[in-house]
Symmetry: C2
């Protein structure tokens, strides 16, 4: 038997066929239709799934399940997307809409950060562990937690919003309305904000020079490149950023004590340049001495697809 | 059948007989023997248990289990207390030592904050819920979490150290070596520290006046009394304190999304004076709108005993 995972994002919809061994066999994607009518995306999803089935010479009856991952909040019981702002899905009965096209196939729905953590559990960095936390550093912070081999969605099943735990009370405003959330200090957007602030204060900095004085050109990669090359201003910004991440890892260790913490997102592509200072911080300050291994995520861009395809193993 | 719970604290050891209905039937206590020999405490525990059995006219064979709660870290698999500094227990095989006196009775061991949460689950504020977080505000912060009806002890089973999640990165030093932990802003000790600091800066404050200029006389009750009576300086300190607690509740909601959050410890005896501002903060800032009820703990001083006695229902 096979399963199909669909990762529905604001820019594209990616679907993949996954075998019993949790390995991705084949994948396809299409742009998310920006028509203003969310129902049009159902047509895109259907045609991606049908193409996967046809091109791999299998039948709908060979599909054990279809899993859908969305960047938003979910009502698990009804299979409804409560809010996925990037997709313009609001109280959107996604499972039913997709399921109507594939009678007899069970449809599963999950938040994309949780699906990504599940992909690490079945096929990536969490293999061999029964618990793990995936922290995806992007414009925001995506957090997915596996405990006892199950995605953790909270006591009331509203979900798991790791990025909105408070890290610096009263600090920078967060998109959620609170101040000082993990997301407002540990996201790539936060690194960029701090890089631009420092460059503006220090026109002699390599960041300012390379951006030719145009602060809007300073992105996460530029801050990290300048820090790696030893620029003092960029290094100070980057060291502060990895300290925030270290403290975040310590919070995760005190609260979840997972076997493994994996960092994902573009910022983590550098591997040790990101991980070494976080490990050092945790070694110094983590409450438990035999704490989680700290690693990079492995599933990269396929995390959402593979995790969505694995959802049926969770229920 | 009955069970017996023993709450082993630095000042006293309290033991109680609990019936099948999770209700405390009878309790006794003795001072913790400050002899410098931790083994002497085993004799105290044995004699408390034997008295409970004798005085209630039952036999050892009527005891389904004995549960022990200690303020420290535990190795669950071996029944050993790794460290309980107040008791001078270090790598101390408590289950075996107590069990030797009661052959045929299974002995369970738990951290006291976790045991207290379990007491709320079986007999107190969490009744009817399958998840709940108990935050006990004392000299430190005790945190106990019940998820799906089970005490949560972390993925690696080191435990759950809610008080050592970071709340204000880089802030006040914490006993654990890190800075800005929840414990260093939300404990009664933190309220006292801030009250004394403000009184020292404002000799006109009611706190300073009532303490007759002796800052060491300012305790949590005095700060709260002055705030309740409208003193501006004490009110500012207390409002800041409840904001920290509000942010802590928001962190708990984002991460655990429990059905209920109960606050315990002396500071919570005031009920609404503590809860109302925390609820207001959570209403404003919690990520999930249909979030946990925020209440006071119910089990008070019996929490450790009752929770320890209920441990056998968890395994």
């Amino acid at each position: 038997m096979y399963s199909i995972g669909v990762d529905i994002g604001g820019s594209k919809i990616a679907a993949g066929l996954v075998g019993n061994d949790s390995k991705l066999i084949s994948k396809k994607s299409s742009p998310f239709p920006r028509t203003g009518k969310p129902l049009d995306s159902i047509e895109t999803i259907r045609s991606l799934i049908n193409s996967l089935i046809a091109e791999n010479g299998i039948k709908t009856g060979d599909i054990a399940a279809i899993g859908l991952a969305v960047p938003g909040s979910i009502d698990y019981a009804s299979g409804v997307v409560i809010n996925a702002h990037n997709l313009d899905y609001h109280d959107f009965p996604l499972c039913k809409l997709v399921g109507d096209d594939f009678p007899g196939v069970t449809i599963y729905l999950e938040n994309d950060a949780n699906a990504a953590a599940l992909a690490e559990y079945y096929s990536g960095a969490f293999r061999g562990c029964s618990s793990g936390l995936l922290i995806t550093i992007g414009t925001g912070i995506g957090g997915g937690l596996v405990l006892d081999g199950k995605i953790f969605v909270g006591g009331k099943k509203n979900g798991f919003e790791f990025g909105h735990a408070v890290l610096l009370f009263g600090g920078e405003p967060c998109t959620c309305g609170q101040r000082g959330c993990i997301e407002s200090y540990c996201s790539a957007a936060a690194l960029v904000r701090e890089g631009r602030k420092a460059a503006n204060d220090h026109h002699e900095s390599a960041m300012f020079q390379r951006a030719q004085g145009d602060l809007s050109r300073i992105n996460a990669k530029l801050v990290m490149d300048c820090a790696r090359e030893g620029d003092a201003i960029a290094s100070a910004v980057y060291n502060q950023f990895t300290d925030y991440l270290g403290a975040t890892a310590c919070t995760a260790i005190a609260l979840f004590d997972p076997e493994i913490i994996a960092f994902g997102g573009g910022v983590s592509n550098d591997g040790e340049f990101l991980l070494a200072p976080i490990r050092e911080y945790a070694k110094k300050y983590a409450f438990f001495k035999n704490h989680a291994k700290i690693v990079t995520a492995e599933m990269k861009n396929d995390a959402g697809i593979v995790g969505a395809a694995m959802l049926h193993l969770q229920r």
